[in-house]
Symmetry: C2
Subunit: 515 residues, 2 copies
């Protein structure tokens, strides 16, 4: 079991089929394999040896997919960089796992100087855009043309496939180490439980490929054979037009994206009956939205996947049968065939059905650990279970219901925002005495990052100032979109801010379906 | 990934559903788990520790399934014994892998004294039949009643799950060591490639459970949840009646069994539309039989699996789409998503499409090795590929076509000659009723292509005529250089020509090293 296996299989079974479509650029399986083997040779020439990290900082593209194949082909480890991060965060992650070769596209070429400055060990930057070659970078197509194919080293099994950085609950991001076997187990297990994607079908890659969810959707279609239709980012009109034009059969989305697609005027103008599977995650779907989506994609089966980067990523699935049945749309589904799911109390004892506790997951898909963070790894994986940080309960039929984020994570527009990280940024503001960050309902993003702030005596601040301050430290999407100033916080006996109390007025009247 | 995981998952999701149906005996998932955990305790009390072998010599039953779960539950390794073997062969295999606890049913209880005599280390024999308790045996139900449940040790991953002895065509049987991960990879990979079985469906277990193919079919339904409907052995009337009575959705058969089912008068009298998946193996299906089978099972999808015990077991699959398409029914399908399949020459170099050689397979499903046979293991797994011993070729679309056993391959003057190809040519001669082609010693060519022919009543033929006929169809070097006419062939119990017997007189005095 190794990542590139699907490419070899396609080469045996469908060599002349289109493998990637990006704009008007189409590459067959044979061409893709040839390019990947040459790019692997170029990486080898850069001394990418067994286990060496190679980064990608780019919007989605066919070249992004080529890199994901070429790196393990030559024995390396991929480090797909979160494109929404600030340069400071990116520098932190590159330096932490010593990624000294980086691929960037036109959208992120401008980051290169500041990344080099922050991390001088960055020795090669390869430009994968179609625009002019920026100074100090290597040209992607020249590298491919200049090298002869090398054989696949077939790195696989329990060896490290990639490092996927995930938001820092304690401030700093952590690099989840995912093995080839992790991805194999999660993908084959998910597909064995709830079929998604068709052999030889066409998959639309629209969620950002650095995300584990999109990465896994890409891998699913890779092992199934067939074609990846790739768009650089989510834009509803383009997505609808692309689906219709290429007769896409499989797409992975988040409910926010689904909402924007069904609301878009051009949805009604296109025949989208080609779509057979819609997989969504990050949050449940409302019954209203599901009904709308079933009209927009009349032949699609809907599958919800719940999981996290550390689980490569799926643990539970709400199957298409569950969707048809329709009474459990708020649940995250049941343990997939490869995963064991339980709910534990604060003492890590398994709780009976109906009792709320922390959701924990066990199986061959659980990450190897966090890069260079043995203490955090031991904590997260204690007792052999991955502690998700999500609060929830299992019902009598084994359906998982997520009720809250144990660690106060906010999911805003499909992105995970850890309140602790935002609180750290806020606390650095000179006017802030005390603060708490919570998720509150938002019509567009599902949840919105909201700050509750107690100012220092005599100090003043505005939302705009607060936002600017935060954006100088963390990614823009993590900065609070709203705030309120308070005199005092509700505190527990132990002096801890009771976030539940802060959240209550915002959620009370809502029929809250989001976790 | 461990064998008993599917049972735990069912316990979480469907505890009150029927897990096993055997005759009129029905056990729910909860009852099954309780019985398994008690039986595991009984085994523990017999000092079954980590990796200890436990044998089963029995027809199919619900208790057979309980044993398959209880043994790994307590850390042991299963050794399902081939019920078609002679007591001497069974003694050989028990002694070789030191299986000193054995479960037997009423059908095989009579073997116990001779097994004990041949293998005095056999210390416990447990009777799982419904008949009276034979002397010197422990009673299965008493053991379960006498022990309290113990927790599952969850033995899994790369650890040894079972030893499956495989045919001694070349002399002594070899124990293929299959890990939990091997079975996981083959089963999840097969199901991800070509769905078989329904979640919560009903699977009929009719092929003998000691066989890897039936064992894997059992495991597939186990991980899917649902019910195992078990019959002790194949009897067409009973099978038809059982399928209809319990609304079975999934059945694994061999084409001979399918033929007997469609030919049986009661097939037409029962509604068999409940069957949604028919998986078959061991040999391809003819177009005629497929058509008949599609009438008998009007809603079934047909999937052919090709593999072997050492591959746990599937490597290639002919999917339901391939069956509908209908032009490749003679092929064994294409590499499943978990398997790499290639064809190699005598030097182990991979051959291009269209060239006949030995079929080799690589992947996470390849056995750990043969028990206690390092030389045979190294030979079978040389270069990281499992050498199947089957001759075949891959076509341009990656479909595998099996032409013969390599062991039936004749090497004459350095050329490979597949006896099946010559036999096909011979069979087209109007005078030939039955034929077999073998290699016999030849001073010049090493081996010589030799035909053994039974003529049609009243027909005559000469070697020259036969040769000319063959040369009109196949290459000259493949045409028989000698032949003999016989009245009858030595046949196996299954009606297969015993080529070994035909070869014997020619090779008897030779030190034959070729297989």
């Amino acid at each position: 079991m190794y990542l590139t296996q699907g490419l070899h299989r396609s080469l045996q079974q469908n060599p002349d089929a289109p493998a990637t479509i990006f704009g008007d650029r189409v590459r067959t399986v044979r061409e893709l394999a040839d390019r990947v083997s040459r790019l692997a040779a170029a990486l080898r020439a850069m001394d990418v040896a067994d286990g060496e990290r190679v980064g990608v900082l780019a919007l989605n593209s066919d070249r992004f997919a080529e890199i994901l194949l070429a790196v393990p082909w030559t024995g390396g480890v991929v480090n797909p960089v979160n494109i929404r991060w600030s340069p400071a965060e990116i520098v932190y992650s590159l330096a932490e796992c010593q990624t000294d070769i980086l691929f960037v596209d036109d959208a992120f070429a401008a980051y290169a100087p500041v990344l080099r400055q922050g991390y001088p060990a960055l020795r090669k930057v390869v430009h994968i855009g179609d625009g002019p070659l920026p100074e100090g970078m290597l040209d992607y197509e020249e590298l491919i043309a200049a090298h002869e194919p090398i054989p696949d080293v077939r790195r696989g099994g329990d060896s490290l496939l990639g490092i996927f950085y995930t938001g820092g609950t304690t401030g700093f991001p952590k690099g989840a180490m995912i093995s080839h076997a992790n991805l194999f187990v999660a993908t084959y297990g998910s597909r064995a439980t709830a079929p998604t994607g068709l052999p030889g079908g066409k998959s639309l890659l629209v969620a950002p490929m650095f995300h584990m969810a999109a990465f896994a959707a890409w891998y699913t279609q890779l092992v199934l054979g067939g074609t990846h239709v790739i768009v650089p980012f989510f834009e509803p009109g383009t997505v609808i037009e692309t689906i219709a034009r290429h007769r896409v059969s499989y797409v992975m989305l988040v409910p926010t994206m689904i909402q924007m697609l069904v609301d878009h005027p051009s949805a009604a103008e296109h025949d989208l009956s080609c779509v057979r599977h819609v997989v969504y995650g990050a949050s449940p779907i409302s019954e209203t939205l599901l009904r709308q989506a079933m009209r927009t994609f009349p032949r699609a089966e809907f599958v919800q996947a719940y999981g996290m980067t550390e689980l490569a990523p799926a643990a539970t699935l709400l199957t298409s049968e569950d969707h048809r049945e329709g009474t459990r749309l708020r649940s995250a589904g049941r343990a997939a065939m490869h995963a064991e799911v339980a709910v534990v109390g604060p003492d890590d004892q398994v709780l009976p059905p109906g009792r709320v506790g922390e959701v924990v997951v066990r199986g061959g898909h659980v990450m190897l650990g966090y890069w260079n963070k043995p203490a955090e790894t031991a904590e997260a994986l204690r007792g052999g279970w991955m502690h998700t940080g999500d609060g929830g309960y299992l019902d009598e039929d084994g359906y998982l219901h997520i009720v809250d984020r144990i660690k106060d994570m906010i999911i805003s527009g499909g992105e995970n925002v850890y309140s602790a990280e935002v609180e750290n940024a806020l606390a650095a503001h000179p006017a802030v005495a005390l603060c708490a960050v919570i998720g509150i309902p938002d019509a567009v993003y599902g949840e919105r990052v909201h700050a509750v702030i107690k100012l220092k005596p005599g100090a003043t601040a505005t939302l705009a100032e607060i936002r600017d301050h935060c954006k100088s430290l963390i990614a823009g999407y993590k900065a609070p979109r709203s705030c309120e100033f308070v005199e005092d916080f509700p505190l527990s006996a132990a002096g801890k801010i009771l976030k539940r109390e802060l959240r209550k007025p915002y959620w009370e009247e809502k029929d809250r379906t989001v976790q």
